[in-house]
Each structure stands twice: as structure tokens, then as C-alpha cells.
Symmetry: C2
Subunit: 202 residues, 2 copies
DNA sequence: CCTACCGATCGGTAGG
DNA sequence: CCTACCGATCGGTAGG
């Protein structure tokens, strides 16, 4: 132990930045889970002792908070403009689904941590990210609502069920798609959009 | 501490059974998470000291293994017969989705642990439940495949994407539905089936 | 950025 | 089913 372990996973051994610690933690949290990773693991990954991490970061939870926040913001900045366009709701929904898959394919680690591990946060940090999640949800709520008002979506539709179904599909399919990569992100996005908007039956 | 704490959450204080321990753990795991719950919490819940739990159960992980196994089996026993019926694939898919929601509404705690916390298992236990998950997935894979062969589902469809979308929608919507209960389970199941099979646009 | 260490807590066991 | 305790590990701090 000692030197050999501390350098594991690092190609060089210059001074360590806060960003390097966040991205090491991002990698570890996404491959394992927040509770399974210790500060000593993060220290090993960047090549310093766990105690030394605290001159760059405040706490373990603060790291997770930033990762989750950034992970959700990646979606908000891309999806808000789509929500606010003038296109018909069905088109906006297709675009939003495809864009979601695009963001997911570019930020797979942020995504899996942001959507699955925010539960390990507590107190103010949890309240903060729940607010961000609500903002994310409201984008799809708005589009579905518009679609019903336009008369484009079936009228008897349970709007809340539709929103839950869309977000559930997007959130959960992430893990599997990233693992399998059976088609390109663009094709996968088109397929998901077609299923939700047009249905399976022809 | 002591007596008062040990009796917390229990209406009486007879001898403790293994089943009582499993159901106390089920409740705690579903409300919090496997890693956040200690053996001392489970002991408190059933009214005995944590060390005494081990005369009824083997280990903490064994408890989770059984809960996850039972949770997935609840779905397998209900969905396999639907997969094997002679009805058209679109009808079977609608039935399977509605039945899934029905099982979920009857076993919400098992469901949330089985579908979200199996990752805390390792070794043989993990391999075992991954096999059960695969069995569950294959039910929907089969129905989707049948639908494409029948010519009932759109031909250019990415079958794998369809299966991922369906399961993702069902798995993730569980948490939210149980929390919100905005409509009856039957209505919610009908809505999800309509969205996937018929699509949002009319 | 290190060594050394804190108090707390973990799953699990021994012995009765 | 209890008390008492095990070795390990946790996030985080002190002092240099």
C-alpha cells in the first residue's frame, strides 16, 4: 500500500484541483453509489490522502450536491427553449425527447448520478435539487398540457400519467442505453419519441 | 433509551418471528435505503436488540435478497400467463401493463425495493436477482416481438428501445404513483397502456 | 499535502 | 433474547 495505491488511476501526479476531485467523484459515484464510495476512495483516485481533500472541498455531500445540480442543469438549459417554441405540442414533445437522449448520451455519468442518487442528499441540498427536478418535470407538464388544449392529444388522457410515463421512460432508459449502445443516440431518441407520441400500433 | 426505544413502532411485544423481521426491514428499506438502515434500526422496529436478530436471520444482505426476490416474483407469476395467452400482442401488452400497475399498487414496498435497491446486493445474490430481472424483461421482449411479427406494431420500430421504454415507464412511475395516488390503480394502468400502445396523438 | 488521530457507527459474534 | 464487545471503517479535524 501507500505510493502504489495512491497513484492508481492517475496518469500524472501534479497538484490536485477541486475540479479533479469532483470529476473523480463523479466517475466513482456513477460506477458504484454514493454510500459505497468513501473519501479514501476519492483520495486514491486523485492521488492524495483523504484528509487532504478537505483543503479543496467542503464535504462529501457537497460534492454530490454539485454533481446532481450540474447534472439536472444540463437538461434544463437544453429543454427550456424547446418548451417555449411556437411549434405544435406534438413536435415540441418529439424534440424534447430527442434532445433529452442527446444530453444523456453526452453526460451519461452526470445523468445517472443526478437522476438516481439525489436521494442521498438531505436538508437544504435535497430541497434544492428537488426544486430543480420540479423545474425539469414542469417542462414536460407544460408541453403535455399544451397538447391537450390544442386538441392534438387524446382528450380523455390522464395528463399526470402521461408526464410520469414520459419522464420515467427517459430517466430509466438511460442506464440501459448507455450500457448497450445498440443504436446511435439519434436513432434511440427518434424511437422513444415515436413510441410515446405515435404509439406502438400502426 | 432502552425500553422506550425498543418498543417504538410495535403495538405489542410477543416473541419475534423471522417474518416480522423481514417485514420490518421491508418497511425501513422502502422508506429509506438499504445502506441507510442499520441492524440496530431493524432491531428497534421489532423490539429486540440487533444482536438477537441473528438467531432468526443470517445476514443483512440475506434479508435484502429475499425481499428483492419476492418482489420480482410477484410480477413474474402474474405476467407469465399473460405473455402466453393467444390474444393479439397489442391486447397482451395492454393487459401486461395494467397487471403490472395492479401488482405495484398491491405491493408498493416490495416493488420499490426490488426495482431500485437490488444494486446493493453482490456476488451470488446479485447474479440471482439479475436473472430474475432478465426473466421479467423477457416477458415484454416476447410480446413486443410477437407484435412486430404479427404486423400489428410499426415495422421500423426499434424493438429494444420499445422494451426499454415500457419497462422504464413502469418501473419509474411506481414511486410517483404510490406517492400521489391521483387516480385509481385501474385508471392509471389504462392510461399507461393507452400511451404506449396507442400513443399520445389522436 | 502529510501523518496521526478523533468519535461514531457499522455488521456480526461470544457466552450466557 | 440479553449484555458486552470485536475489528473495521466511516467522515472529518488538528497540527504541522
Amino acid at each position: 500500500m501507500g505510493i502504489g495505491k495512491r497513484d492508481a488511476g492517475r496518469g500524472f501526479s501534479g497538484p490536485v484541483s477541486a475540479d479533479a476531485i469532483y470529476s473523480a467523484a463523479l466517475d466513482l459515484f456513477s460506477r458504484h453509489s454514493f454510500s459505497a464510495i468513501g473519501m479514501r476512495d476519492i483520495g486514491d483516485q486523485v492521488g492524495i490522502r483523504s484528509g487532504s481533500l478537505y483543503s479543496h472541498i467542503g464535504s462529501k455531500e457537497e460534492i454530490l450536491h454539485r454533481i446532481v445540480r450540474d447534472g439536472i442543469n444540463n437538461y434544463l438549459v437544453e429543454l427550456r427553449p424547446i418548451r417555449d417554441q411556437d411549434d405544435p405540442a406534438a413536435d415540441r414533445l418529439r424534440q424534447a425527447i430527442r434532445r433529452h437522449v442527446d444530453v444523456m448520451s453526452r453526460t451519461p455519468n452526470h445523468t445517472s448520478v443526478a437522476f438516481h442518487q439525489w436521494q442521498f442528499l438531505g436538508g437544504d441540498a435535497k430541497r434544492d435539487v428537488v426544486q430543480l427536478r420540479d423545474d425539469y418535470e414542469s417542462i414536460f407538464s407544460k408541453i403535455v398540457e399544451d397538447g391537450v388544449h390544442e386538441g392534438a392529444f387524446r382528450a380523455l388522457l390522464d395528463q399526470r400519467a402521461a408526464v410520469i410515463a414520459i419522464i420515467g421512460m427517459l430517466t430509466f432508459s438511460c442506464e440501459w442505453y448507455v450500457r448497450e449502445q445498440h443504436v446511435s443516440p439519434d436513432e434511440f431518441g427518434r424511437s422513444l419519441a415515436a413510441i410515446v407520441v405515435d404509439g406502438l400500433v400502426r
